[in-house]
């Protein structure tokens, strides 16, 4: 058996994990499953693509950075795309989720997110068609790194980017007042208000982090696979499986869950065939719910 699945699994796992951070934060802080999260990924990716094209139209062709497949325009576009996706999440919360949340029934908010998901996806199909597109059509040569494993420079860069982002979010959650406020709100919303935490502003930060990371995950898929309106929606099951596997509310858990599912998917493709890929996250999800419903890093509710 080739060990190549490790690289593939880690990459898929990074995309799943970055997405799962948003899912787990929304679930633990706003208390609902946001099914539109995958579509934030797709919108972020298309926004990034649009900015890349716009930069291309303004300054002409830009040479890629070193051995990578992309140049500085993609990096600039990614930052703008992250801001755009964060704004999209804030906007959706303002016009839809916040109003329903104030009525107090979580299931209605979940259903609304389903509707929002469909609407967002259809808008993308309408605007950009459902034909796949790419950031770059250049072919990268994968470098052998031993043990029969090959990896491209893009892949290395994106794995490093994931590590940096995850570490950053983890430090934000555990070392800053904002992060402690988010933890506090997820554990006891009434007490959070009593100790002086402005719930509305913590909710905004949650959407900003979730949206921005969804954009990065989407752009990773765009660079390594392809860009389609369904690219985010198709990630929904693995993202939820990762969030639940890691334990709802846990940032390291979501990422570890993502990596486990990514590796399991890649391993399954190699061992039993590609048609089983999608089944893997479903099986893991079911297994976790039966064996340890609180997940790896989860803590039982009071």
């Amino acid at each position: 058996m080739s060990l190549q699945f490790i690289v593939d699994g880690l990459l898929t796992g990074s995309m799943i994990g970055l997405g799962a951070i948003g899912v787990t934060l929304t679930y633990s802080i706003l208390r609902f499953s946001n099914f539109a999260h995958g579509d934030f990924m797709a919108w972020g990716t298309y926004a990034t693509l649009a900015v890349v094209s716009a930069i291309g139209a303004m300054v002409g062709k830009v040479a890629p950075i070193g051995p990578l497949s992309f140049g500085w325009p993609l990096i600039v576009a990614l930052v703008i795309g992250m801001a755009f996706t964060a704004l999209l999440a804030l906007l959706l919360d303002k016009v839809l989720f916040a109003r329903l949340r104030s009525q107090g029934q979580a299931i209605i908010v979940v259903m609304a997110s389903f509707g929002a998901s469909m609407a967002l996806r259809s808008l993308l199909e309408f605007t950009f068609t459902s034909r796949p597109t790419y950031f770059s059509r250049a072919i990268q040569i994968a470098m052998p790194v031993g043990f029969g494993i090959r990896i491209t420079p893009d892949q290395i860069t994106l794995l490093l980017l994931t590590a940096v982002l995850v570490l950053g979010v983890h430090l934000l959650m555990t070392r800053t007042q904002t992060g402690r406020s988010m933890q506090a709100l997820s554990q006891n919303a009434a007490l959070a208000r009593i100790v002086g935490i402005d719930v509305a502003s913590v909710v905004r930060v949650t959407w900003i982090i979730g949206g921005a990371l969804a954009c990065v995950a989407g752009v990773m898929i765009g660079i390594l696979v392809q860009i389609r309106p369904f690219m985010g929606f198709d990630m929904l099951l693995p993202m939820f499986a990762a969030a639940i596997l890691g334990g709802i509310g846990s940032i390291p858990g979501a990422v570890l869950g993502g990596l486990i599912i990514g590796l399991a998917e890649a391993g399954a493709v190699q061992l039993i065939g590609a048609e089983w890929r999608a089944a893997v996250s479903f099986i893991i999800l079911m297994a976790v719910l039966f064996v340890r419903p609180i997940g790896l890093f989860g803590v039982r509710e009071r």
Partner: protein
């Protein structure tokens, strides 16, 4: 009485419109005092104190803190205004460490001030320092109550408001909690507390009010109230309430 810190006038409050639980209760708390609110079960004591803290919708009356009208202030602004509230249950963040429980409450303090303030709380509550890295959910009942009080005190409140701090504690911890409150008052903090445990609360209190059916019916010096026959009547509800301060008869049914 000295300068008034908290002045609650004719407070009406309840979770649902048209169904008031607090029905025109008035109290004052002077600077440096411990004021106790007593009352039978279901008298609306807890709702009264939660309404002051901004957690139960207020439908009438006013709350002044240090001369400022805080009646309509949202709950999360109360610490900034100078009112720190300690709920009866679930008053700590169970998954966060003891230290993070203290830190998360420091939002209104200046950043450089925070470490020193946390050390001051550890000095005042030495039990907590040994557990600073422990998840607060693993503390004993008495230690939880200490943490909740330390968390409230850390922001230098003008008034500390507690909802039944002795509820659910074993007798050993109950006396510990009341000793702690007496000690806090000595350090100059004004305290308003609602208590079921009347004897222990009156022992440390300066003045007390008896709340019945959402209204203050009696007021007096804490040390004298324990033997006050009117209180026994109101508290135990054995006889019709002849000692009402203002006539409320005919209005509202039994709470």
């Amino acid at each position: 009485m000295s300068e008034i810190v908290l002045d609650v006038r004719n407070l009406e409050a309840g979770y649902e419109p048209g169904v008031p639980i607090v029905r025109g209760a008035s109290i004052t708390v002077g600077k440096g005092e411990i004021v106790v609110v007593l009352g039978p079960n279901g008298a609306g004591k807890s709702s009264f104190i939660k309404a002051i803290a901004g957690l139960v919708p207020i439908t009438g009356g006013t709350v002044f803190l240090d001369g400022n009208d805080i009646t309509a202030a949202p709950a999360h602004t109360m610490v900034r205004l100078g009112l720190a509230f300690v709920p009866q249950t679930e008053n700590i963040f169970p998954l966060m460490s003891v230290e993070d429980n203290l830190k998360v409450a420091c939002g209104i303090l200046e950043r450089p001030e925070i470490p020193a303030r946390i050390e001051e709380m550890y000095a005042a509550f030495p039990d907590l320092i040994r557990q600073r890295r422990t998840a607060a959910g693993n503390l004993s009942g008495g230690q939880r109550q200490m943490l909740a009080v330390a968390r409230a005190l850390i922001v230098h409140p003008k008034v500390l408001v507690l909802d039944e701090p002795s509820a659910g504690l074993s007798p050993k911890f109950v006396s510990m909690v009341f000793e702690m409150l007496a000690g806090i008052r000595k350090s100059g903090v004004t305290i308003l507390l609602v208590e079921q445990n009347a004897k222990a609360a009156l022992a440390i209190g300066d003045r007390a009010y008896v709340l019945v059916e959402g209204k203050d019916r009696h007021e007096g010096v804490a040390s004298e109230l324990w033997n006050d026959p009117v209180v026994a009547e109101l508290y135990l509800g054995q006889r019709p309430l002849k000692a009402e301060k203002t006539s409320q008869t005919g209005k509202g049914g039994a709470a």
